[in-house]
């Protein structure tokens, strides 16, 4: 069964550094998402992406964050200048969806980001 893959599984970075988290969504999916989870707590929405542009973003997704789909397969999340509070698990998800078609999200296994 196709799956969403994320790399790296763990990223350690120093405060102020830029990080790029990578995701390969399922190939025939149309909608892409980033969520984050701070140490087993609530799963928080960051941003959704469709047709090569951001559909919706949360308050967390400030101007330090950006997303990109540079080619037909990868979907990246960039944090320009990391803060300690950015330490979390970052999950990429995708879904196919369509008119009158309710589909679940397919999640990757996440990237654990540790900012020191």
């Amino acid at each position: 069964e196709p799956e969403v893959t994320q790399t790296p599984s763990h990223q350690v970075t120093q405060m102020g550094q830029e990080v790029i988290l990578r995701c390969v969504p399922i190939s025939n999916h149309l909608y892409f998402y980033w969520y984050r989870q701070i140490l087993g707590q609530k799963v928080e929405f960051l941003v959704s992406f469709y047709n090569n542009e951001i559909s919706e973003k949360s308050e967390i997704f400030d101007d330090q964050f950006s997303v990109e789909r540079p080619d037909g397969s990868n979907f990246t999340l960039k944090i320009r200048s990391t803060k300690l509070e950015d330490s979390a698990m970052y999950f990429c998800a995708s879904r196919r969806s369509g008119i009158n078609y309710n589909s679940p999200l397919h999640f990757g296994n996440g990237t654990r980001l540790t900012v020191t």
């Binding site: 969403v4 909608y31 998402y33 969520y35 087993g40 707590q41 609530k42 799963v43 928080e44 929405f45 959704s48 469709y50 559909s55 919706e56 698990m89 999950f91 998800a93 879904r95 196919r96 969806s97 369509g98 008119i99 009158n100 078609y101 309710n102 589909s103 679940p104 999200l105 397919h106 999640f107 990757g108 296994n109 996440g110 654990r112």
Partner: protein, 113 residues
């Protein structure tokens, strides 16, 4: 309270018993979904129930939805040690499947062998 709150926050039961988790939400929905998360892993979809459905079954899972009370419950029957995980409900407002899902706070389920 926040959109999508599960209760209890944590639940420990003996293997073989049934586990019931509840979810409350605030806004209107098109469907509600339940997900499972093993420790340190991504979320895995379990079951989806549409707003015009009241109950749905999938194997040992039974989900109910009461839109008048804005609540849902997930029942796992005949629990197994492998069911130990966190369970999240998620609300989907869209008929087109193009909007974000909003997740609850989760219930951490521990099955004691």
């Amino acid at each position: 309270s926040q959109q999508g709150e599960e209760d209890p926050q944590a639940l420990s039961i003996q293997e073989g018993e049934n586990a019931t988790m509840n979810c409350s939400y605030k806004t209107s929905i098109n469907n509600l979904q339940w997900y499972r998360q093993n420790s340190g892993r991504g979320l895995v979809h379990l079951i989806l129930i549409r707003s015009n459905e009241r109950e749905k079954h999938s194997g040992r899972l039974r989900v109910t939805l009461d839109t008048s009370k804005k609540s849902s419950s997930l029942l796992i029957t005949a629990s197994r040690a492998a069911d130990t995980a966190s369970y999240f409900c998620a609300t989907d407002p869209s008929n087109f499947g193009n909007e974000k899902l909003t997740f609850g706070t989760g219930t951490r389920l521990t099955i004691i062998p």
